[in-house]
């Protein structure tokens, strides 16, 4: 199904400027990618409260910690691969352990980075951030939700990670859709299987649900925009009813949303489950759409996974 596309990064830039106006305590750091992450919008408006740290992400995270130690609310941005992997220890030791108000908003996550190839793509960042105590992990589904997520993390005490894409994502929410950290949204109600998507895979799940409908299958679609803390109540109330679940993420299928969901279901109410995501492999250069197909992030894959899970019901 064709949906309008919109930029998450642009919404980040817009939200950040509004936050800057309302909150003099907000400071923004970047590591030489401010025009790509769109922190440049804030930098133009509030040059005194923007610090470019150069190509030195470890130092950027430590500097963010120091600013937060003095009462600032700090946004630190870069590409997701650099903002999580390159400085994981700095985020752990200097930000998460002392529970500082640092909001890591990273763009260019996943495989749809495209032509830059595997060095700039990341299929590990959700895993890296959700394994850390005190860290909140948010993966907005689209541009409108990005705006709301960025606004929401300002008021959430402690460290947060917000994961954004490079390319424009299909728009599946509206400015009026409710958004709350830690709450999954029901995008479509259904009876036979629960499709749990995060990021742009929510749109893919909605497409899959439409295809499943033509095959006589009623699929419920959840937008799991907060990976941590996971909305266990909504997840369980849906899967206990449908009895089958598919997770879909633009991330390594071994370690992200699928793992988080599997732990909750396994401990509480196991149901047949299939996981759609990037196989445990590095990506490569290519157009975003080509990469989505090659690495199995399509509605066809979600449909197949749903049918597989449904077949295992009661076995």
């Amino acid at each position: 199904m064709s949906r309008p596309l919109a930029s998450q990064r642009k919404e980040y830039g817009r939200a950040l400027v509004e936050i800057g106006q309302a909150r003099p305590d907000v400071v923004v750091l970047d590591a030489d990618l401010s025009t790509s992450t769109r922190t440049s919008d804030f930098a133009k408006k509030f040059p005194d409260r923007f610090f470019n740290c150069g190509i030195a992400e470890q130092n950027m995270m430590g500097t963010a910690a120091g600013l937060a130690a003095s009462g600032k609310t700090v946004f630190a941005s870069s590409f997701a691969v650099f903002a999580t992997g390159r400085c994981w220890d700095q985020v752990r030791q200097s930000i998460a352990y002392p529970k500082f108000n640092v909001k890591i908003v990273a763009s260019h996550a996943g495989i749809t980075v495209g032509g830059d190839g595997a060095s700039h793509q990341t299929a590990e960042d959700i895993a890296l951030m959700r394994t850390m105590p005190n860290m909140t992990v948010i993966v907005p589904a689209d541009a409108p939700e990005t705006y709301k997520a960025v606004k929401a993390v300002v008021d959430r005490p402690g460290p947060c990670y917000v994961r954004l894409g490079r390319v424009d994502f299909p728009v599946v929410t509206t400015a009026d859709s409710p958004f709350e950290i830690g709450k999954a949204a029901v995008m479509k109600e259904g009876e036979d299987v629960t499709l749990v998507g995060t990021g742009q895979m929510v749109a893919v799940c909605l497409d899959a649900a439409e295809e499943l409908r033509t095959r006589g299958v009623s699929a419920e679609v959840l937008n799991m925009s907060t990976i941590k803390p996971l909305d266990k109540a909504r997840l369980l109330s849906s899967t206990e009813r449908t009895g089958a679940v598919v997770t879909a993420e633009e991330h390594n299928v071994l370690t992200g949303l699928g793992s988080a969901v599997a732990t909750v279901l396994g401990e509480n109410h196991p149901v047949p489950m299939s996981c759609v995501g990037i196989p445990d492999t590095f990506g490569e250069s290519g157009e975003s759409e080509e990469l989505m197909v090659k690495y199995g992030l399509t509605s066809d894959m979600v449909v197949t996974a749903a049918e597989r899970a449904i077949r295992r019901k009661g076995k």
């Binding site: 409260r49 130092n59 430590g62 500097t63 120091g66 600013l67 009462g71 220890d89 200097s94 002392p98």
Partner: protein, 253 residues
């Protein structure tokens, strides 16, 4: 303290003892009864394993009772093996993973500039830490943003866990490196109280650039069997060693 804990880092604590004492009892503008006082000078112990001397100074300053010191490294204690901001009054920053404290100090310094506060930030590094790349990223940032409210100490005791620094990984020429990164450099005898205080005074006068004080020190200073001993980097003394050590330091054994 390390005897009571059965482990810890006495050597690198003693090399820093004179500097830490000078800072807490002569240099820092602070209020131990009011650890969150916003105009306080900040001290970040980047070399987190020198926690014993740090805790001793905090306790003697009045941040918490001296009787707490024997609980170092014990389960449930406020005194973690390496400093934890959320547990210990007076600890500005959780440290222990080396090389990170100067970045944090810079962040605190930027905040002070933004808020037009004139408190100072003291960052205490070890010389082994100079091998860590993040130190030099932070050195660059402090010079770039002209953070003249930052004073960094380097405890140049010349020893790290695996041996002399110049055998493990040469850090020299250290003063030239800092100069090259745009810092004002002062070198002192880190056990000479007058030199420590004069260097801190001089650093306050430097405008437009941060200051590093390279303090030449002796690991295990004051305890004959610990001096220049790699063995006492991360090992506590036994009972007999403890009694001898305290006597040599002029304390009651």
């Amino acid at each position: 303290m390390t005897f009571a804990a059965g482990s810890g880092h006495p050597g690198g604590s003693l090399s820093y003892a004179d500097i830490v004492a000078a800072l807490y009892f002569k240099v820092l503008n602070h209020r131990p009864g009011q650890p969150a006082w916003e105009d306080r000078d900040r001290l970040v112990l980047s070399k987190g394993h020198a926690a014993p001397v740090y805790y001793a100074a905090l306790a003697e300053s009045g941040y918490f009772p001296v009787s707490e010191l024997v609980n170092l490294r014990k389960l449930g204690s406020m005194l973690q093996g390496h400093p934890s901001r959320s547990r210990t009054p007076g600890v500005e920053m959780s440290t222990g993973s080396l090389g990170q404290g100067l970045s944090v100090s810079n962040g605190i310094a930027l905040a002070a500039k933004l808020d037009r506060k004139d408190h100072r930030i003291y960052c205490l590094c070890g010389d082994g830490e100079m091998e860590s790349g993040q130190i030099w990223e932070a050195a660059m940032l402090a010079a770039h943003y002209k953070l003249d409210n930052v004073t960094t100490f380097v405890d140049r005791n010349r020893l790290q866990i695996d041996g002399p620094t110049e055998e493990v990984m040469s850090v020299e020429p250290l003063a030239k490196k800092w100069e090259g990164f745009g810092w004002h450099v002062i070198e002192i005898d880190g056990h000479d109280m007058r030199q420590i205080l004069d260097a801190c005074g001089a650093a306050r006068q430097v405008k437009g650039k941060p200051t590093v004080i390279i303090a030449h020190t002796v690991k295990g200073k004051g305890v004959s069997y610990m001096e220049n001993s790699i063995a006492f980097h991360g090992k506590a003394p036994n009972e007999q060693e403890l009694i001898q050590g305290l006597r040599e330091l002029g304390e009651d054994a």
